[in-house]
């Protein structure tokens, strides 16, 4: 569909090489449908959105659209840093095709949604990137389009604003608007979309219901991913800034194992989770304290158990050995986490060996549909008073 060339007005092609960013990509989206497009970086997802929004035209093939489109390709594109939020709302609104009267009627909603009422007359160059994004998203969704194109934008802002964005998108769905959603965030795609396509190198690899496409996509990246994480792990071993200590005891290896005893870097919520920390003590060391810590890859500290808290300190160690840490039920929600493995003296003021957040592992969706927060607490709900069961 799209061919990238360098044009030369003199009529000569300076560069003859080109590649097809998209080829043989055809799909229909019905009005009112929420449609997902998934795929690796560079697979052509964003090109599709640009074609749909008219930013670029196909070299071959056609795009036909009925209704007004609003594209959230990049929040706040066209914001003027020197102008105030108020001025930018009007400017951005008109770039998106609204008249002044239309912006006036939406103005209060835009401001309320963005939660920036206190900063309306502040030049937006003083805004944080989060505020910037909030304003951008808020304007874009209040254009009230028939078709909304969304490209990865939900990856911005804090958690509560992200939920607000998702709620707003659900709102669109309820009002029968058509949504085309491009994202890496498979959980959100799964949640929002009924159908999806999986793009791979500019071609459609799989299409159908969102659940089916996502499952196929997941399987393919899992094989690939396990390799990448293992790679990370190896390269990180040489990274010395994240490791310190007197080395009286050396942590020589850290491995993750699943229930069947298979070494892995991928777990599912609720899986059995086992860590083996191999060590070598040059000479006899008494009462060493082993510990671990788990951080999510955005730095959130999850926990930090050690053998002293658990009353499992040994009298001494000597030579090489290993210590296991296990849990039958990994309560972490999907994401990437980094493990810290340490060994300290008994008063925990001298590190023998400290490997800080050096061992990554990944958690995939497992025993729960929950998605907010960090961990799954296996709780229960109970009703009191007059209530009925849903029978379907």
């Amino acid at each position: 569909m799209i061919r990238w060339t360098l044009i030369d007005l003199a009529g000569q092609r300076r560069q003859k090489e080109f590649f097809w960013a998209l080829k043989d990509v055809s799909f229909n989206i019905k009005s009112g449908e929420t449609f997902g497009i998934i795929g690796e970086n560079g697979s052509g997802k964003s090109t599709i959105l640009k074609l749909l929004s008219g930013i670029i035209l196909p070299d071959e093939g056609t795009v036909s659209i009925q209704g007004r489109i609003s594209a959230l390709l990049e929040l706040g594109a066209g914001f003027q840093p020197d102008l105030t939020a108020r001025e930018n709302i009007y400017l951005n609104g008109s770039i998106m095709g609204l008249t002044r009267a239309q912006i006036n009627t939406r103005f209060d909603n835009i401001v309320r949604f963005s939660e920036l009422d206190k900063f309306l007359d502040t030049p937006i160059k003083y805004f944080s990137s989060g505020m910037y994004m909030r304003l951008g998203f808020s304007i874009a969704v209040h254009v009230e389009p028939d078709i909304l194109l969304i490209d990865e934008v939900l990856a911005v802002g804090d958690q509560s604003f992200q939920h607000k964005c998702i709620d707003k998108i659900r709102d669109f769905k309820r009002h029968g608007k058509t949504i085309i959603f491009v994202s890496h965030d498979l959980a959100t795609v799964k949640q929002l979309c009924s159908r999806a396509v999986w793009l791979n190198n500019g071609r459609i690899d799989s299409r159908g219901t969102a659940d089916k496409v996502i499952e196929q996509y997941r399987e393919s990246i899992q094989d690939h991913d396990a390799g990448v994480l293992a790679e990370d792990y190896r390269s990180i071993e040489t990274e010395m800034e994240k490791r310190w200590g007197g080395r009286e005891i050396e942590i020589t290896r850290v491995e993750f194992f699943d229930r069947s005893g298979q070494s892995t870097h991928q777990f599912r919520t609720g899986d059995m989770f086992r860590i083996k920390i191999s060590f070598n003590a040059r000479h006899r060391v008494s009462k060493p304290v082993f510990g671990i810590a788990i951080h999510r890859n955005d730095g959130v500290h999850i926990n930090g158990p050690n053998t002293k808290f658990s009353g499992e300190v040994t009298e001494y160690i000597n030579g090489s050995g290993a210590i296991w840490y296990e849990t039958d039920f990994l309560p972490l929600l999907p994401g990437t986490y980094n493990l810290t493995a340490v060994v300290y003296n008994y008063s925990c003021d001298h590190p023998y060996d400290h490997h800080d957040q050096m061992f990554p592992f990944r958690v995939l969706p497992g025993c729960t549909d929950e998605e907010y927060g960090v961990c799954f607490i296996p709780g229960r709900w109970k009703y009191e008073g007059d209530h009925g069961k849903i029978t379907s």
Partner: protein, 266 residues
């Protein structure tokens, strides 16, 4: 929505207004003297030219030199600054062009419009000088609106061309600099057109080529409006008018032709 009708759509007009106002706000925001700069710069320029051409070189004109100069210098400043700023108008908004669809001709269009407003303000300088030298406003002033209109169209057309060419060739900025330098000296701004009449017979071919330049007639229209106390020959007005419209149409056509490639090349 593209096509000539698209420009006239209400939300596009408002986009144009917003972009124009934005250009003006940004131009003066944060500077101490603000919009006074749009008066100071031409005034200083006028001062230099007046010293050079009426004191040192002593070009003979029938009016106070400052007034004579301003009548053509102010339109010229509008023309050249629109062209230069307009050339950057699309590529400076690369981010916008890549991420949002809107009629892109609004970018150079808004540049020209905001310059036109600046031009309107500088006409105040001219007014002050006219009053100061007690040069009366005559009925020939009705030539001013068509003069501005032609100048605007001609500038807009060329700006659309420089704006889209800059997307593909950054060289355009250097070329423009040279072209504008040549162009400035080949129009009667600092010297009167009448000097050409005094050319010897063997140089008349040069005068004929010189007058092919549409900016000559456009700038002369301004002097007719303020100073000459005579009507310009109709064919000169038509010549300027036809060029102006043709330039706008050609510029718009070219811009729209290349617009689909902007998002990739910018």
């Amino acid at each position: 929505m593209s096509g000539a009708m698209g420009i006239m759509a209400k939300h596009n007009l408002e986009l144009l207004t917003n972009l124009t106002v934005r250009n003006l706000k940004i131009k003066y925001k944060g500077s101490f003297l603000g919009f006074l700069w749009s008066l100071i710069t031409p005034l200083l320029q006028m001062l230099i030219y007046t010293v050079v051409f009426s004191v040192i070189i002593r070009v003979q004109v029938d009016w106070p030199f400052a007034v004579f100069l301003l009548t053509a210098q102010l339109p010229w400043i509008f023309f050249s600054s629109s062209l230069t700023m307009g050339a950057g108008s699309v590529i400076e908004h690369a981010n916008l062009v890549k991420k949002v669809y809107f009629p892109r001709e609004m970018l150079p269009f808004a540049t020209v419009l905001s310059n036109l407003i600046g031009f309107g303000i500088t006409l105040l300088i001219l007014a002050v000088f006219l009053i100061g030298y007690r040069i009366p406003i005559t009925r020939y002033i009705i030539l001013l609106p068509p003069a501005i209109f032609f100048l605007f169209l001609f500038t807009l057309g060329l700006t659309l061309i420089t704006g889209c060419l800059a997307v593909f060739f950054r060289d355009i900025f250097h070329i423009l600099e040279v072209v504008l330098l040549f162009w400035f000296w080949s129009v009667p701004v600092v010297y009167p057109l009448s000097l050409l009449k005094d050319l010897p017979e063997s140089y008349q071919w040069f005068a004929r080529i010189y007058k092919l330049n549409p900016m000559v007639e456009i700038l002369e229209l301004f002097r007719h409006a303020f100073l000459y106390e005579s009507w310009p020959p109709l064919k000169h007005v038509l010549y300027a008018g036809i060029w102006s419209f043709a330039m706008t149409i050609a510029g718009y056509w070219m811009f729209k032709k290349l617009e689909p490639l902007f998002a990739r090349e910018v």
